[in-house]
Subunit: 267 residues, 3 copies
Amino acid sequence: MNILSKAKKNIETLRQKNPLVLNITNLVVTNITANALLAVGASPVMAFAKEEIEEMVSIAQAVVINIGTLTKDVVEAMFLAINKANKLGIPVIFDPVGAGATKYRNEISRKIMEEFKIDIIRGNASEIANIAGEKIKTKGVDSTEGIDNIVQLAKLAATKYGCTVCVSGKNDTVTNADETYLISNGDIALTKITGSGCISTAIIGAFAAVDKNFVSACVTGALIVGISGEKAAKTAKGLGSFQVNFFDNLSNLNEKYIEGAKIKQTD
Amino acid sequence: MNILSKAKKNIETLRQKNPLVLNITNLVVTNITANALLAVGASPVMAFAKEEIEEMVSIAQAVVINIGTLTKDVVEAMFLAINKANKLGIPVIFDPVGAGATKYRNEISRKIMEEFKIDIIRGNASEIANIAGEKIKTKGVDSTEGIDNIVQLAKLAATKYGCTVCVSGKNDTVTNADETYLISNGDIALTKITGSGCISTAIIGAFAAVDKNFVSACVTGALIVGISGEKAAKTAKGLGSFQVNFFDNLSNLNEKYIEGAKIKQTD
Amino acid sequence: MNILSKAKKNIETLRQKNPLVLNITNLVVTNITANALLAVGASPVMAFAKEEIEEMVSIAQAVVINIGTLTKDVVEAMFLAINKANKLGIPVIFDPVGAGATKYRNEISRKIMEEFKIDIIRGNASEIANIAGEKIKTKGVDSTEGIDNIVQLAKLAATKYGCTVCVSGKNDTVTNADETYLISNGDIALTKITGSGCISTAIIGAFAAVDKNFVSACVTGALIVGISGEKAAKTAKGLGSFQVNFFDNLSNLNEKYIEGAKIKQTD
């Protein structure tokens, strides 16, 4: 089955299976991440208490870890959650928000990558560069200066950790080092609302819950976010209505969206 | 006065008295709960620091407790807040989000019910079943499988704890064990945006601040949320615009909404 | 350059320089504050871990401190952040949400004002009165009863702490004790959505990052929020669409907005 047929099938399967996606995420995007997951047909649960996180993992079909607003207690819950997910064979999706901005984020994100099994990483180029050990200048949590060859970077990270990597940017790059796709759907407005990256990560998590081929899970998620953003921009009057349209589109998601895919395979 | 006349009067009284409703709630819904309370005419305050929570209770007219994203420190603040509210005779409304999903939530929600005076519980059927001690299968924080007789369940919980119970679902059931109402307003979209249940609980809290008859307070809150959801669905293009319409309707609330009530009394 | 020319220039400079604004803010408004900053052209970062906050300060061009949902750990992070910003000469903007409502908020807000250098305070009249040491009755976090002369109050606070003060209300008052402006843009709906004050503070922070004259930074921020709110109200169908329009307007911000300014200088 080609990648676009797989993406179409994933959309249908997600709505049928309605997987429970556990999110330990940042406090900026908690609400919109839950809404995005509900919109595409998954069941979100947001939890971060050490006392219950392992039990929550055990009823989930995917675990999404996002370090956007780290604190010591939440970090402990993340480690417990990932460890439990690894034991149970539940896919773990990691969003290293702001990796590169502070030593603390670097330390936590490297610990996550090195001591546990992470199935998918999604971030912008500077975050992935940091994970891969490449030196890149970072401006806060959003920047991506000085990155020459994002495909090479993504493959480096994928090889280093034996995982699938999705680098978001003007093009989204998805690779497991062997198989690589570039997606050019999306709209600049997605970079001007907070949390569109975090939402991508969570939606990729939802597809990883129903598709054990993590490359096609990532491609499906990246396409849906990009295409929903493109459609949203067409009638938006500004960033407020863009966000409303974006959620309308996520919730109206169907196989036809995939016909708007702008994708090419490079490996 | 019949229940619908009471609901109409409550809408007017809420806007006149503008009660302060203290919320110790979960991090997914903090923003939208505050906005929902403002929209219907209450004054929200969201706080959860042990250092100040008792003082906050002492200036509030209702206290809403929601365990959607528990942590140890917040649990301590909840216990202090409920204890203080009980001493001052301020109504306490409890939303046992995800009760049944983890031992920690079960333990905390049972402690809340058994060691304090709770005036109103609002939850879905699986949460209320857990509170009542009935065994029900739970899927994360959202599911309601295998519940035969919700009215019986609601009355069981109301009797066990001497409180008023509101069970949300396809029908909303409100009972204090003696007097029971079924409300069938609402729209499926309310189950596809995060926090509509939490908003119901908070709005019920606002009405409990101005109506000491907690059955009519619950009925008013459930009707308003259901009817605002129904109206919202009529012109929504998806879940994004549904949520916008829903808040528009909450803020345009007036007595005429009650004319759309679909309600029957069974006890 | 007069104040309106300065405001026009600030709008352009903000979009050119795209300053990083670090926010330690409350959990009710985290998402909308980040979106408001993005909309007007700043780069938001939201962080509050003691482990990384000083590093975050060192890459920021302004630091916004908001005590809307205090906890002990976040307070420690605030002290570290303000101290670091003071050492580096980065402007600090303080929003004393709910000062006056509890002893804890009073204690923290006075400590912030007395032990550190704060460049700008923005709050409602009862919050500023509390900071200034004037006795005012407070209702939760929103009220402003019994305040006779807001200009006098603002100048008192500005003199006491050697800072610029912005008092939000029916009129917004901006003063550094020597130079004083009254702004009467805005719409009642801004008081009925949660976080419009917090957004003002953050946007003022963004302008303080690019304009070392804090009076004109405050005036620019207050005008933009007021004018965007006014425009939003014109086509809003309720508070849901008001909020969407408000964000649309923030994101469409340009120099022409300033032509709608309702401002007078009193000192």
